[in-house]
């Protein structure tokens, strides 16, 4: 069997190279545009899907029933210092909700929607300090906040907190720092974690140290239920994009740009935030912006800046508006809180 395994292994390797051998890909050139069909938007999609009956409802229900039998075991294991992570195909949202409503009714618990694209670790920590610990006041950085939480929980052994995380591998939580903080949080004896993961590469997030902090017990909970909530944020290319940009898409687009382009966008964002209290602020005029970019050595000519701005416009990162005096004004069509979060994240990465 060892030889067999080896064969399998080399097969896998060959398959990899086969898949990546030629840069040329043989696929047809048809595009969705030619399909002569209107693109569905989010709303109609939902309506359509709601109308179609769920296949194999009975079997899925039976599967869920099986998983629900484990609830009491989970509670015992959580109290013994383990944390629970669920994996398997299908949305585990309903299962966790059921767990929450049936078992955790009377306990303090916190639900984190990891698939939500604007969630940050800071917001998780904030809800712990503000709502669970009744602490008013802000902290300089997440690690400080974490330290405060750890201290409080160590002092007061009567505090108990259940944290349910849907999609621990969500876009915004997969970063190394977020995971580090969550891991430290989960290692506290009075905080109990139940999380679900979906991505196939989710375990890559954790190294030895984090794993030992998390102290996971894995449970396979294949539910086959559709990922309704989770994919509603996954801006699919088949769906018409709705207007406002989410933080995650913002960071993703920006990450693929050059350093200077990022600097330009940053400059504009900072300027907009400085003027956020001024209701009559029309945006930054192109000339002023050009001047500032020159001073920061981000562009060297009018043309390059224009080219850059065109690219931003294509990604719907900025909007231009002609003022009463005929001057072009630049605006970022994103709400201020998202922009603040974005700048903070940028600061961390730089």
């Amino acid at each position: 069997s060892k030889k067999n395994e080896e064969d399998k292994m080399s097969n896998l390797v060959e398959e990899y190279f086969e898949a990546h051998s030629s840069s040329k890909v043989l696929t047809s050139d048809r595009t969705l545009q030619k399909l002569q069909k209107k693109r569905l938007n989010q709303q109609t999609l939902h309506d359509l899907l709601r109308k179609t009956p769920l296949a194999y409802a009975d079997e899925i229900k039976r599967l869920n029933q099986q998983h629900e039998n484990l609830f009491s075991k989970w509670i015992l294991q959580l109290h013994l210092g383990f944390n629970i992570v669920l994996y398997g195909l299908g949305s585990k949202r309903d299962l966790l909700e059921k767990f929450r409503t049936s078992v955790l009714k009377d306990n303090v618990h916190l639900v984190v929607n990891g698939y939500f694209p604007s969630i940050t670790v800071r917001s998780i920590l904030n809800s712990i300090t503000e709502e669970v610990l009744d602490h008013v006041g802000t902290f300089r950085s997440p690690p400080d906040q974490l330290e405060f939480i750890i201290k409080r929980f160590k002092e007061d052994s009567s505090l108990e907190l259940y944290i349910l995380i849907h999609n621990l591998d969500g876009q915004m939580l997969r970063g190394e720092k977020s995971q580090q903080i969550l891991a430290q949080l989960s290692s506290l004896p009075n905080i109990y974690f139940i999380a679900s993961v979906d991505h196939i590469n989710a375990p890559l997030m954790w190294d030895q140290a984090k794993l030992s902090l998390y102290n996971w017990l894995w449970y396979e909970t294949t539910t086959f239920s559709p990922y309704v909530e989770e994919t509603s944020y996954e801006n699919s290319f088949l769906v018409q994009q709705s207007g406002s940009l989410a933080l995650s898409s913002l960071t993703h687009v920006l990450r693929s740009l050059t350093l200077n382009a990022r600097g330009i966008f940053r400059l504009l964002a900072q300027y907009q935030l400085e003027n956020k209290d001024n209701p009559s602020y029309p945006g930054l005029s192109f000339q002023d912006f050009y001047q500032q970019c020159r001073e920061a050595f981000l562009v060297n000519s009018d043309l390059t800046l224009r080219a850059q701005l065109t690219e931003f416009r294509d990604h719907k990162l900025i909007r231009t508006k002609r003022g009463t005096d005929g001057v072009e004004y630049l605006l970022i069509p994103v709400d201020d809180s998202t922009l603040t979060d974005f700048l903070e994240k940028e600061d961390e990465t730089v």
């Binding site: 896998l12 047809s28 179609t52 194999y56 398997g88 030992s212 017990l217 989770e230 088949l238």
Partner: protein, 657 residues
Amino acid sequence: QQIQEELNKQLFDNLVSFLRQSHPDFQEKTTEWTRGMKSREIPTAALVLGVNVTDHNLTFRSLTDVLQNNITPYIAMLEAKNCAGIKNLMQKLMEQLMNCQIDEEPLEDEDYVQVSQKRIRCSMSSLVTWYESVTKKTDTGTPSKRASPSSKYGQYPPVVVVLKDMESFSTKVLQDFIVISSEHIHELPLVMVFGIATSPMMIHNVLPHSVSSLLCIELFQSLSCKEHLSTVIDKLLLTPQYPFKLGEKALQVLINIFLYHDFSVQNFIKGYQLCIVEHFYSQPLSVLCCQLADAKTRANALSHDQCENVRRLPSFRRYVESQVAEKQIALLTEDSCLKETVQELLQDLHIYHENYISALRCLHVFTSFLPKHPLGKQIRELHCTCLEDRVWETEEYESSLQLARMLNKSDLVTMLQQCVEIFVSSSGKQSDEIVEKLKEFLTQFQKLEAEAFQEPDVSISSPKELQKKTDLYHLQKTLLELKESKRSKKLTKFELLRFEVVDYIDSLVRKYLLPADHKTLHEVVYFNTASVLREHLNAAPRIALHTALNNPYCYLKNQALRSDGGSISNKAPDICIVYRLHLECGRLINLVDWLEAFTTVMMAAEGPNADAASSDQDDDVIHARFIRAVSELELLGFIKPSKQKTDHVARLTWGGC
């Protein structure tokens, strides 16, 4: 509840204390050395700790304890995750050093405490002000701080900085810190301790010559994690002290995870804990798994349901079948009779464990000496083979006995002595009725020893030859020659003795090393469900996804989903079909084609009754379902949108999975 209490009892404290003990020499050395150090360079102790990062916390904690108790230093422990920049590092360092000092002298120096607390708060209050004062703080803050308490101690206690995870520090921060502190080494006697997970070469990779020349490094090696494991197993599994035991398969899984995955003793212990939890949760008779006296009282208080549970145990059934008819009836019907028998059986089991462990150690003494180690070098391997099946039926055991029959005298004597020691210690502990036998064996052993000692005087000629040849191979050859040529009477006496000993050991083994499965009521104390462990500790989410997508029948038991071999039924859930179609593509997938293929499959599934009128409506629905399935695949990480070509997605996996 009761079960939970039992769980947490004993176990963890014992482990912690034990882990602490395992490092004493090592710590002793380090402390000695920190005390003695006084030099122009920064004295540095590099501790090579091995890759099991998770176990190091405990080591460091006990190290600080030891250092603190010997009143040498103030200790700050720095972790890489807190020290992204030199600024953070200094801040953390100050904070910890000040806290240390406050701990040390709680009420003696009120002013000082206030001052330092004020400083901490000030440093916390705003990053900017702190940043401006950082130079002041490092330059004047630390030396003065040192001056005040050191005057009280009379000497200059060094300040120890422990860098827990040397590898994860950014090199720049580390270099800067070393250079800065080397500037102040005269005012502030600093000692650094590096925790290194890989090898000492690391230091030279990270630090350039100019920086590493500022350090005066001494290496310390910690125990390897394998030794750690064997002591843990020794203390945890091979004592009669704990009633809970691990079965062979479960133990094997735990050891495999340790050896092939992480080398982490902590994870091993975690797995052990999980075993205990599982055992007490799932096995209704685990209430009987406790110390003998408790177990007996609990056995007496068994309810009727529990008695039924006992009767249902397979090992108990075997036991009943071996009894006479009247006894059988009594056991199966009367609870009181059953309770008595259970008590006896529990007692039996207890005695069996005690004997088992000493016999196991005894056998280990013999086999670990043998060349090539047919039964394994470590006692844990021997333990596993013994648990697995009757050890004397294995080939390895045969060959080791063969080898044991050729042992020379001095080895044999030392082994015998060791065995005697084992039995003395164990019989001292047991003090029960089983000692009798052991005592008898003991005297026999001693007699043997005495005779063995006299032997060389009596038979000078031939054993002398034997003594010269220490090598077993030669010994064997000479023995064979001797046998063939002439049978010396003295030699046979020795040989006889040796055979007697080996046979005796053999009988001992046969008597006591019965695998636990053959004992009645072994289910009460043994946990042997390896699949549970594997599932929860060493999960494979990708395989679960793969089977669910490839073969939904595994989970959804619907006859419509049943399919043979590679094909998939067209009635499968949408996502499975989309997944199946995507498997057939290369690196890039055209969405239009994909959608069309999906539509075709769907149409085929709906069959001929789909009339033309509603086809437009159907199209939309199928389109929507396709979108949902594709975005689910995207969420699962199988595909991602690609910019290489319009309306294409890139596949992130390859081959059949």
